[in-house]
Symmetry: C2
Subunit: 341 residues, 2 copies
Amino acid sequence: MKDRTLRIALDGMGSDNYPFPELHGAIDAASEFGYEILITGDEALLEPALQKIDKTSNSQISIIHAPEKIASDESPAFSSRAKTQNSIAAGMRLLKNGQADAFVSAGNTGAILANGLITLRRIPHTRRPAIAVLIPVPDGYFILLDVGANSDCKADFLHQFAIMGNLYANKVLGISQPKVGLLSNGEEENKGNTLTKEAHALIKHDRNINFIGNVEGKEMFAGQADVVITDGFTGNISLKITESVAKMVTMLVKDAIKSNIISTLGGILVRKSIQNTARTLDPNEHGGAPLLGLNGIVVVGHGRSNSRAIRSAIKVAGKAVQHELLSELESALEEQTKSYS
Amino acid sequence: MKDRTLRIALDGMGSDNYPFPELHGAIDAASEFGYEILITGDEALLEPALQKIDKTSNSQISIIHAPEKIASDESPAFSSRAKTQNSIAAGMRLLKNGQADAFVSAGNTGAILANGLITLRRIPHTRRPAIAVLIPVPDGYFILLDVGANSDCKADFLHQFAIMGNLYANKVLGISQPKVGLLSNGEEENKGNTLTKEAHALIKHDRNINFIGNVEGKEMFAGQADVVITDGFTGNISLKITESVAKMVTMLVKDAIKSNIISTLGGILVRKSIQNTARTLDPNEHGGAPLLGLNGIVVVGHGRSNSRAIRSAIKVAGKAVQHELLSELESALEEQTKSYS
């Protein structure tokens, strides 16, 4: 745990509604956690916007000029190399040069990954970085990874995702002996595609992991696993289906309530309770998604992040730094590499 | 379209609560659609149960003795070969011998597939059979396949799933020019794992398919595709997550409503509307899942099927026979094979 003030770099042009979610989130995080926040992006945009909402000229917040923005629909690989002055690259450089302890962005996830790989590279012995998200369930959440960094995976990538997800859950989220499950099409050990069966065998023999075996939707949404491992293709589809179905059912219930006058009256009485439920399922409440395996602490926020989500992502980044996640990951991945050879 | 009375074989020991869902479903289907129903299973169990509920000795319903049952947790491959007198095998034999036009079972899906492959084999030129389910969305449903017959797929399997799903949607469900999508982790053509990208290229060039490209959760649950193609691993996980999230959200809403006295009062007024919504999402309302690619019409019901679901599955099977789905599939798959060579 570092004694000095933590410095968090923040992409000022990441979210769909930038820069105000970022600026408000930064101000809140600075005052609440005492962090210094370095906001990357176009000075001409960020300076006046910041002055408008923060008339005290908060000394904990500074702007680092980076005039280019990578849009959410731009090709990550191409734009990351073409726009060297983009706000994500600027954040990665602050991290690389030791001017920041962590970097937070609610921008194009592919571009964050690409810039991270270019500037920070991977932690030694890391096969692939993975994106880990928290998915809310009735009594908490579970961590799902990878949700999109790697469309094609090998079994040893999945084993490393298990190691990284396990350490993140334990060190940063404070879960003791996290229960780690492998997403598959059946609970039995012999269920799965070739990739899953091979990964099952590797993770099962890792004595540092509290492996609970294969899990399906039923177990995941009953909160039976703290960490769920999958390849980035299946994970991304799973995450998006989860969001879409939750949204569809909530909408259907709202529509149903408005469908006749009696239930509309009832709807007025149940509105607050249903809003609380919707909040439980809101990703904004659960902070950012760490990009595990990069040689630096990088946390990705949802494109739709509001200031509360930005503040949460900064909090997650700060906790990862304080609990020295990076050196924990490095040791664990080194140990695993030795055990393979 | 056949002129004579259709004969549908029905597994009498398939569903979790057999035999009453099957018997009631058979009686309803016989009287409603005029089909003859041949119920396979243990005579000693089925005869007295049938007499108990159908005192008129309905001549459209007969019992075909098959004393063995494959339980839902038994190994499909092993039990299908060990228990040659199981109620699924008996149904497949009726189909194979021309004594039935279609077979319906709410039993162990793996065992239905295994028995189907042993007895019926595949339609000529079919690489792999696929299980197709209807997933309800606000204004209807979409067909998802494969949801579990094949954990490891190749691109040409997925192309055939597209051909089969397209024909099923068109001929049996009556959708003209069904919109066919490919489940992927991004809408853009270059998104996906290697399998999906290869399948995309094959399906795109099939001029018999109205291909709308890659789809994600958002498009699927907005009802933008009529048929969604994926491998059996991803499809099975997607189906189970869909069911689990829908169940979780409905439960959270119910709990939220009961959380305080005001909203409990409101809950009484909205109850009926919410029940209607739950019914929209109930798989029992949407009939069975065809096992496409087997050389015979086989429809699988959910293990939790009630009599209404069995009746729906029989209806689906009857429609597939009437619209000559099997010969349609055979011609289409033959044509596709020629186009490859």
